[in-house]
């Protein structure tokens, strides 16, 4: 599903590029916290290599067809949302530069869609379910299933939105949405089964490695020459982790609100879907004004369409901008509060 060059117009590509860059900046910070300052590079690198490899693992469906994992939800649950975004983004970046898989100018679209949206949505769903479900291992598997199930159509919705704002052809958004979401709900089921099984397999062996299943730590006791001694208290990480988790929540909430708003907005503008293909034949565009009159996409006149593009684009930019700014603001605040900034200064090269 790597979007090639030319599919999305230049301004929208640029805006998604900015969004992707912002998301990367935030997740670089977040990943440092999730993995530890100096552990980030090797661990995130190896997880990226894992995602790259696991995308090549074929899961046979039936009659010679097979599917594979997209990995956004899996990464978010196994290593945390920031590291997840980071790793999937690096995989996409390398696929674009090394294998010409996905256009160079479409990198922003691809990262926003496949790294940011899948990871953030699946992690928000995952945490939300875990908060409700009983604290058992089975709950983690169930939450993984639902999170992965939702993440794939969410990416399709995000793509539809980007397409609505900057698509280069006038295919009705309703059609794109129907086709994209329909297909991706099916893909999502596969993704969900594989993700849940994989998370379950990791939890069975190394529950401590599953980021989404943390929080069941006990105080250590050491036996020295037959005597039990308390281990020294580890550094005060848990408080910070809890704060950052709340941040994730908040960011996820804002992002999904923005997404939900746009989806309903466009969906209501295009109530008709599949039957259009047959219907369109030879019908004058002007005859189609039955769609809700006050919606900017209801009328297909050239002027209106360009206006709708503009307003839609503007709204999209503002919405995403607000998300990114809000997210980063919270991060800065959290960081400030934590004090001691240990990240090394990077003087320009």
């Amino acid at each position: 599903m790597h979007v090639p060059d030319g599919f999305i117009d230049a301004p929208t590509s640029a805006v998604t590029g900015v969004v992707a860059a912002g998301a990367l900046a935030v997740s670089l910070r977040g990943a440092r916290r999730e993995l530890g300052e100096e552990r980030t590079a090797p661990l995130a690198g190896l997880v990226a290599a894992f995602i790259f490899a696991v995308q090549m693992l074929n899961f046979p469906v039936a009659a010679g067809t097979s599917g594979h994992l997209l990995g956004g939800a899996l990464a978010a649950i196994l290593v945390g949302p920031y590291t997840g975004v980071l790793c999937v983004s690096v995989v996409l970046l390398m696929q674009g530069v090394l294998f010409a898989d996905g256009g160079l100018t479409a990198l922003g679209v691809n990262i926003t869609d496949m790294a940011l949206v899948t990871t953030v949505v699946s992690y928000a769903v995952f945490r939300g379910l875990l908060a409700v479900l009983p604290r058992k291992r089975r709950s983690v598997t169930v939450a993984s299933f639902v999170a992965a199930l939702v993440s794939v159509p969410a990416a399709a919705v995000a793509f539809t939105l980007i397409y609505a704002i900057g698509g280069t052809t006038d295919v009705s958004i309703g059609k794109v949405a129907t086709a994209m979401i329909g297909v991706h709900v099916l893909i999502g089921i596969g993704e969900a089964v594989i993700t849940a099984l994989t998370v379950g397999a990791v939890i069975a062996v190394r529950p401590d490695l599953v980021h989404g299943a943390r929080g069941l730590r006990q105080r250590l006791r050491l036996r020295v020459n037959g005597e039990l001694v308390d281990a020294p208290e580890p550094a005060a990480v848990p408080a910070a982790a809890r704060t950052s988790r709340r941040t994730v929540w908040l960011t996820g909430l804002v992002a999904s609100l923005v997404l939900a708003g746009f989806v309903s907005f466009y969906a209501s503008a295009n109530p008709d879907g599949l039957e259009k293909v047959a219907h369109d034949k030879g019908i004058d565009t002007k005859a189609k004004e039955h769609a809700s009159a006050d919606s900017p996409l209801a009328d297909y006149g050239v002027k209106d369409v360009s206006d709708a593009r503009l307003s839609g684009g503007l709204a999209g930019v503002i919405g995403v901008g607000v998300t990114v700014v809000a997210g980063s603001a919270v991060f800065w605040a959290v960081r400030r509060r934590r004090g001691a900034d240990v990240s090394p200064a990077n003087p320009g090269l």
Partner: protein, 253 residues
């Protein structure tokens, strides 16, 4: 993914394009594609000129045309989409061979195909003439966050180590008579994926230990440098600059 220094698309050579510093090439490829994407779709001649420009660059790099064209296959899913466009897009319609096609859709299909193909060709040309290590250095020189480049570096270094582990696990499964034939076997495959994750993560931890044991504190020491001379920049930017002229003409004409 091939071996560390040479990846699947890389073709060893000594052409002037191979000799260009990586960040200049990355910038040139990116700007070229950006210009192509910004070109109005109605200026069909402009895309022909772009193709000629790319062909000239490929010739200079001694990359055979067949190599570039083969890689265009990656576009296939979007070709399918492009083929559908004239049928599903709205607006004015024309009748060709008894089929009703949307004019807008035809333009859209052309737009996606032309720009997508040029984009893939430019990326392939970049990947074919730039060593993996050089690409990473180039990304760093283009001011990507150093941590991001480090992560990409580790992904490249260990990509084939991990893929190899996956292959060995498949052989181990096959040696015990297991063959995944359908959804029933997903459990076994997912267990392999889970084991692969644990191995990858643990290797990451060991790599980290090896790094801190040698004094790593979060930033990579600078060992290799890539520098571009003004002449090299001029050569690299010749492609996007001439494309820009074509693009502007496309908007004016």
């Amino acid at each position: 993914m091939g071996a560390g220094h040479a990846h699947r698309l890389y073709r060893h050579g000594t052409s002037p394009v191979h000799a260009l510093p990586p960040h200049a090439k990355l910038a040139a490829a990116f700007l070229f594609v950006l210009v192509v994407v910004a070109t109005p779709r109605e200026a069909m001649w402009a895309f022909a000129v772009y193709a000629v420009l790319l062909a000239a660059a490929a010739r200079l790099a001694r990359v055979p045309a067949a190599f570039l064209l083969k890689r265009l296959l990656i576009e296939v899913p979007f070709v399918a989409f492009a083929v559908l466009m004239p049928f599903v897009a709205q607006g004015e319609r024309v009748h060709v061979l008894g089929l009703s096609l949307s004019v807008n859709g035809l333009w859209g299909a052309w737009n996606v195909l032309a720009k997508g193909a040029l984009g893939v060709a430019a990326s392939v040309l970049l990947a074919a003439t730039t060593e993996l290590r050089q690409l990473l250095l180039g990304l760093e020189r283009l001011k990507l966050p150093p941590l991001l480049v480090q992560i990409a570096g580790f992904m490249i270094r260990y990509g084939d180590v991990i893929t190899d582990e996956m292959r060995r696990m498949r052989i181990a499964r096959a040696s015990r008579g297991f063959e995944a034939r359908g959804v029933r076997h997903w459990g076994v495959l997912a267990k392999s994926a889970g084991a692969l994750f644990i191995r990858s993560y643990e290797r990451g931890e060991r790599v980290h230990l090896a790094m801190v044991s040698r004094g790593y504190t979060g930033s990579m020491p600078v060992v290799a440098e890539a520098v571009a001379s003004p002449a090299q920049w001029r050569l690299a930017l010749a492609l996007p600059c001439s494309a820009l002229v074509v693009c502007l003409l496309g908007w004016i004409l």
